[in-house]
């Protein structure tokens, strides 16, 4: 019952976040100098006639007061109408829909690589001798600090140019997905693993770990069966960071590996001042963020019994 109330409350907050994001982007667009009608018609180079501009202004409510424009915008959003892309001349939802699969696949593949890697490295290296920890931690710091495109380049040089195991880019099948996913995964892993190991080391000092070992449990089972759940709770709060890394990283990775996807769409839309698409992508990111946080929140209640009863 408490859980249901929590979910409803969370959803309500999520709607608020989305509304906030929509309002902010609307304000940003409203305040950008320049004639929106001209932009819609393809910029000054398109040399539209005065009548077409006037036509567009009235179609897009551009002559109405701010509050009417805002209400119209929210009303459209509410009906799922994000408007039409200036550049592609198709509805924004369609433009995003065409690209979301590729990016979703990339992000999922990166997550599938990053989480087990983080888990294994952190569990095996926590509380080990100093040189092991220094080595592992050194690698993690380098990965966390290196810009994504440099990691991508390095992987390309080793695995595509030198070893020629994987193609240098494109969207063709599984082998083209490996390097981009690995690039994204390594960037996430560096930070996540550092935090996870620190948490594990704190947990492994707790008396209940000693109790478990005093019952005859071996070292690795103690880590996996007792310590991991405790260490995972604070690490899960980093999910926001993970989502941001995956979304932000996809812009770079999709460009670097010349892949299709939301990242590539974002970049093209920004270059062409394709505002409806940019707004759509911002709202999409906000929605992803809200949903991920809701899932994490539910995971908390699954992992930690105190969250429900408290």
């Amino acid at each position: 019952m408490h859980t249901v109330r929590r979910i409803l409350l969370r959803l309500l907050v999520g709607v608020g976040v989305l509304w906030g994001a929509a309002t902010m982007t609307f304000l940003a667009v409203y305040l950008i100098p320049g004639d929106t009608a001209l932009l819609i018609l393809g910029g000054p180079d398109a040399r539209p006639t005065a009548e077409t501009i006037a036509q567009v202004r009235s179609d897009y409510l551009l002559d109405e007061p701010f509050i009417v424009q805002y209400a119209g915008y929210l009303g459209n959003l509410f009906q799922g109408d994000l408007g039409q892309s200036y550049r592609l001349r198709i509805p924004v939802s369609e433009a995003i829909g065409q690209q979301i699969g590729a990016t979703g696949m990339l992000a999922a593949a990166a997550t599938v690589l990053a989480l087990p890697l983080t888990f294994a490295v952190a569990v095996l290296s926590a509380q080990r001798s100093n040189w092991v920890r220094s080595l592992v931690s050194g690698v993690e710091v380098v990965l966390a600090a290196t810009p994504t495109f440099i990691i991508g380049f390095a992987l390309l040089i080793v695995f595509s140019f030198t070893l020629q195991w994987f193609p240098i880019g494109g969207d063709n099948g599984f082998s083209a997905l490996v390097l981009p996913a690995l690039t994204l995964a390594l960037a996430v892993f560096g930070t996540l693993s550092q935090v996870f190991r620190n948490e594990l080391e704190d947990v492994l000092e707790q008396p209940f770990i000693l109790t478990a070992r005093a019952r005859g449990m071996r070292d690795l089972p103690v880590r996996v069966l007792h310590a991991v759940r405790h260490a995972a709770i604070p690490v899960m709060t980093l999910s926001g960071f993970v989502v941001a890394s995956l979304l932000g990283g996809s812009v770079i990775v999709e460009t670097l590996f010349s892949r299709q996807g939301i990242g590539a769409l974002t970049l093209a839309s920004v270059y062409n001042k394709d505002l409806p698409v940019i707004i759509g992508i911002v709202l999409l990111c906000a929605a992803v963020y809200v949903v991920v946080n809701l899932i994490i929140d539910l995971l908390y209640t699954l992992i930690d019994p105190k969250v429900v009863t408290a």
């Binding site: 707790q206 008396p207 209940f208 000693l210 005093a214 019952r215 005859g216 007792h226 019994p305």
Partner: protein, 581 residues
């Protein structure tokens, strides 16, 4: 873990050898760290425990008692170097055992009980799963029967409704039930050795007494038991033999009776003398303090003999205060219900009660950081509300507080100078005089000037508490509220802090509101006492009256729960060598 006797051929022990000792170690030495960081925490310790025997290992923190106990089951900790001339477990040479051999023995042949079951049980797993883990790890019962066995175990250690409790999580159980569940998990496999490390330290007195009785019931002819404690009185009735440890060595060993009646080593004598009680009232607990004092009647305020109590100034008057908190599900929890008392100049009023009795809330209301729902607190004859309205800093300064754990009441980044300096500044001392005032305060609490640039973490528990007292004194208060000021301290350090508080009262004419769960401390320190339970005062009066002729059942229970040394004799304080708090 390494050892000089690396005998890999010794496999897991044969079926337990009931004739010889369960464990036998000779000249055990444990070092942590290497090179310049090497610290020897246990040196040349020899002990053996036979089936049916209970050995107590008694010592203060840092004495190496817990490390010794853990080494018996190969859990010394990482980075430890263990050497011993002989180390056997159930007759088998365990000196060179690795993780594999030990893991077969732990839980099955040796059970381990730690203090504070809240952190010693996995908070994310149910009680039943925790207790059943031993059976699962050692494959003891068919999986289908394990649940039944877990329920039986929980029932046998006195957990009511074991079926319900088995499906609950540690935080849903009371401290006493948790400790029982932890004991159930330790005895689940019927081990021949039971090690209990401070099994009652985190518990309220009445609960601790029950757990001690349970441990006593677990003693039988085939089980060897090792009880580790900082408190001789706790283990006095449980153990057959006692070994007193200090700085990694056993300084005295013998039957419990012999050691209690006729301690040989000065340290044992000092330990026994340092225990505060009714009979130690008015005398010093330690013999080596720098301040020269009269041998008796140090706590009796001079003014008492000069004026009648009625004439002395009432500093704090608490009138029918009540406080409730919302409990999260719509209802309220009553923390304090209609409490009234007065504190006069130079007096010590003790408040005794178990956790949740409302004593700390009373302290916070008197301190003025919590506002009661009803009733009033008068400081110097005027209610807090008035002082607050007029932003009267003098009233705020006249009541100060000392907490149980000064480590957490100090900003860890600040030095002693900054900690006390802040209080000195708040007291309105001009900049030029501040340093001298800080040094003066440090001297007052028996700390040298060279501690002035230390940070809290660099000080010992006793030194930290001295700094906390100095900080409280900086405001030149009339009243100091002491909330469990010595509960986190070793008995010898506790003795020094209690002596210091008594000295300060004598010299500065302070009044104390002294809160403790420890009746011995209360009896030693206070003139009058309030017994609190569930937010209300059950009984009040002069200490001697309340404790000698308790009117209320609960008070009687509390008194019966005090672990008593078999002798009532108060050991005179003797000179101690070394360990300064």
């Amino acid at each position: 873990m390494t050892s000089t006797t690396l005998q890999k051929q010794s496999k897991a022990p044969a079926a337990s050898n009931r004739t010889g000792p369960v464990v036998d170690i000779q000249n055990l030495t444990v070092d942590f760290g290497r090179g310049v960081h090497q610290r020897r925490v246990v040196r040349n310790v020899s002990l053996s425990i036979s089936p049916g025997e209970c050995l107590a290992l008694v010592g203060e923190s840092g004495s190496g008692k817990s490390v010794t106990a853990r080494t018996l089951v190969g859990l010394t900790g990482h980075g430890a170097q263990v050497t011993a001339d002989r180390q056997t477990f159930n007759g088998a040479d365990s000196g060179g055992w690795g993780e594999r051999q030990w893991s077969k023995v732990r839980g099955k042949d040796a059970g381990f009980i730690l203090q504070d079951a809240l952190s010693s049980l996995d908070s994310l797993r149910t009680i039943g799963k925790e207790v059943g883990e031993v059976l699962r790890l050692h494959d003891l019962f068919p999986p289908a029967e394990r649940y039944v066995r877990v329920i039986e175990l929980l029932r046998s250690v006195g957990v009511p409704d074991p079926e319900v409790r088995a499906s609950q999580y540690p935080h849903q159980l009371s401290g006493g039930l948790r400790q029982r569940a932890l004991i159930a998990s330790a005895i689940a496999a019927g081990p021949g050795l039971l090690i209990a490390d401070e099994p009652t330290t985190a518990l309220d007195a009445t609960i601790a007494a029950q757990v001690l009785r349970l441990l006593g019931d677990l003693k039988d002819s085939s089980t060897g038991m090792l009880v580790v404690s900082h408190d001789l009185a706790v283990v006095a009735h449980l153990a057959d033999r006692v070994a007193v440890m200090r700085q990694g060595e056993i300084v005295e060993e013998g039957t419990m009776e012999a050691v209690l009646q006729d301690p040989q080593h000065p340290y044992t004598k000092a330990l026994l003398a340092a225990v505060p009680s009714a009979s130690s009232r008015g005398s010093r607990l330690t013999g080596d303090h720098g301040i020269a004092v009269e041998p008796v009647e140090t706590t009796a305020p001079e003014s008492a003999s000069l004026e009648t109590p009625a004439e002395r100034q009432v500093l704090i008057s608490v009138d029918e205060i009540s406080k409730t908190y919302p409990n999260g599900v719509g209802a309220v929890r009553t923390a304090v219900a209609g409490v009234s008392f007065e504190l006069k100049k130079g007096d010590t009023l003790g408040i005794v009660g178990e956790s949740g009795s409302g004593k700390s809330t009373v302290a916070r209301i008197v301190l003025g950081v919590e506002i009661p729902d009803t009733g009033a607190t008068l400081i110097g004859g005027r209610p807090w509300a008035e002082h607050r309205k007029q932003k009267d800093r003098r009233a705020r300064r006249s009541v100060q507080m000392i907490y149980q754990d000064p480590l957490h009441s100090f900003d860890p980044r600040k030095t002693v100078r900054q900690v006390i300096g802040q209080a000195v500044t708040a007291a309105g001392v001009p900049r030029a005089g501040r340093y001298a005032r800080i040094v003066e305060l440090l001297d007052l609490v028996g700390l040298d000037e060279d501690k002035i640039s230390s940070r809290p973490i660099e000080l010992s528990g006793g030194q930290r508490q001295r700094v906390a007292i100095a900080r409280a004194l900086a405001a030149e208060p009339e009243v100091i509220i002491c909330d469990e000021p010595v509960s986190a301290l070793d008995v010898s350090v506790q003795a020094r802090i209690l002596d210091l508080l008594a000295d300060l009262q004598h010299r500065l004419g302070l009044s104390y509101l002294f809160i403790s769960h420890d009746l011995g401390v209360i009896q030693h320190m206070s003139k009058d006492v309030l017994v609190m339970k569930d937010g209300a005062i059950l009984e009040r009066g002069p200490v001697a009256t309340v404790f000698d002729a308790p009117q209320h059942d609960y008070t009687r229970q509390l008194i019966n729960a005090i672990p008593q040394l078999p002798t009532t004799r108060h050991f005179p304080a003797t000179k101690q060598d070394g360990t300064r708090s």
